[in-house]
Symmetry: C2
Subunit: 153 residues, 2 copies
DNA sequence: TATTTACAGTACCGTACGGGTCCGATATCC
DNA sequence: GGATATCGGACCCGTACGGTACTGTAAATA
């Protein structure tokens, strides 16, 4: 169903929460998990990936934690998705060339690439700052999907 | 990585192959599998889903098989994806409302919905007829992903 | 009407990813 | 410098999906 993975929406929620904190403030994984109302291990894993990708800055030791590495307006949904689930590509050949033995005669790849580019553009157009509640509002951000009962269709 | 499922790219390849046949011609699952160079069981399952969704017409018994239910120009990528993997929705709440207990205070859903709509529009814009090889050309369509060695990252 | 062909549905199995735990590394504070 | 807090990485487990096999049903032909 062309869905982003769960870790991605967790990540988006976390980024939004961090973005609503005062500039440059650092929060521990525990605090972030509490705010997002998600299990600590899940949040922890998500934070690690975001830090590895350079979207978050991590500080170890006591009083350590995570903070946004740059302004929310400079973090796009595409950045977050790429960090959390790898390069955006609808099909294998959109990302890794040479996997398909018939690329030379394949007539599908071109049109797919077009779709892929449009999707990436859509995701690059939206930044974390656009996900924030209205300044002064107290709307807290909660994961979009429930943890269980993930029935489909 | 925001990827369509394997069954979807199989399906797209199959639809393209069928579309390059003379209008209304019927092919058996076995023939279709041979042309796409895919295992028969996989092709069979894919064909069943496409038929259930009304994209293909099926005919049972001897001389039976599958044929496009309408012109290739009237079958979009969105149709195929929806038939094969369910409604297009990047997140659970894009498809099923009421799954998330905090929808009322969620500020993320709006922007996500926008992205979702743009992606759907991209997928609705491209039809199977645009995937065909140039008329008279002999480029045969082969699945875009290899069956094995599906390594990632 | 018997036989053959081919689709329809159900059930099964293996793998890969999401989710979780544990231990090591590192920075702060006393 | 020792104790504590926190991140980083490796490993483990359960579930869900892709892939497969089997049985049932319908149509064509002789």
């Amino acid at each position: 169903m062309l869905r982003v993975s769960k870790i991605t929406d967790h990540g988006i929620v976390i980024l939004s929460n961090l973005a609503s904190e005062p500039d440059g403030s650092t929060q521990s994984a525990r605090e972030i998990a509490a705010e997002a109302r998600l299990p600590l291990p899940v949040v922890s894993k998500t934070l690690k990936r975001l830090a590895r990708a350079g979207i978050l800055e991590s500080h170890r030791g006591a009083k350590g934690g995570y903070a946004l590495a740059r302004s929310p307006a400079e973090i796009t949904l595409a950045d977050a998705i790429t960090a959390l689930e790898g390069p955006i590509g609808l099909m294998e050949c959109s990302v890794h060339l040479g996997q398909c033995s018939h690329e030379s005669t394949c007539t599908i790849r071109g049109p797919w690439q077009r779709v892929n580019d449009e999707i990436r553009a859509s995701l690059e157009r939206i930044t974390i700052s656009e996900l924030l509640p209205t300044p002064g509002g107290d709307g807290e951000l909660i994961p979009l999907r429930v943890a269980s009962g993930d029935r489909r269709r």
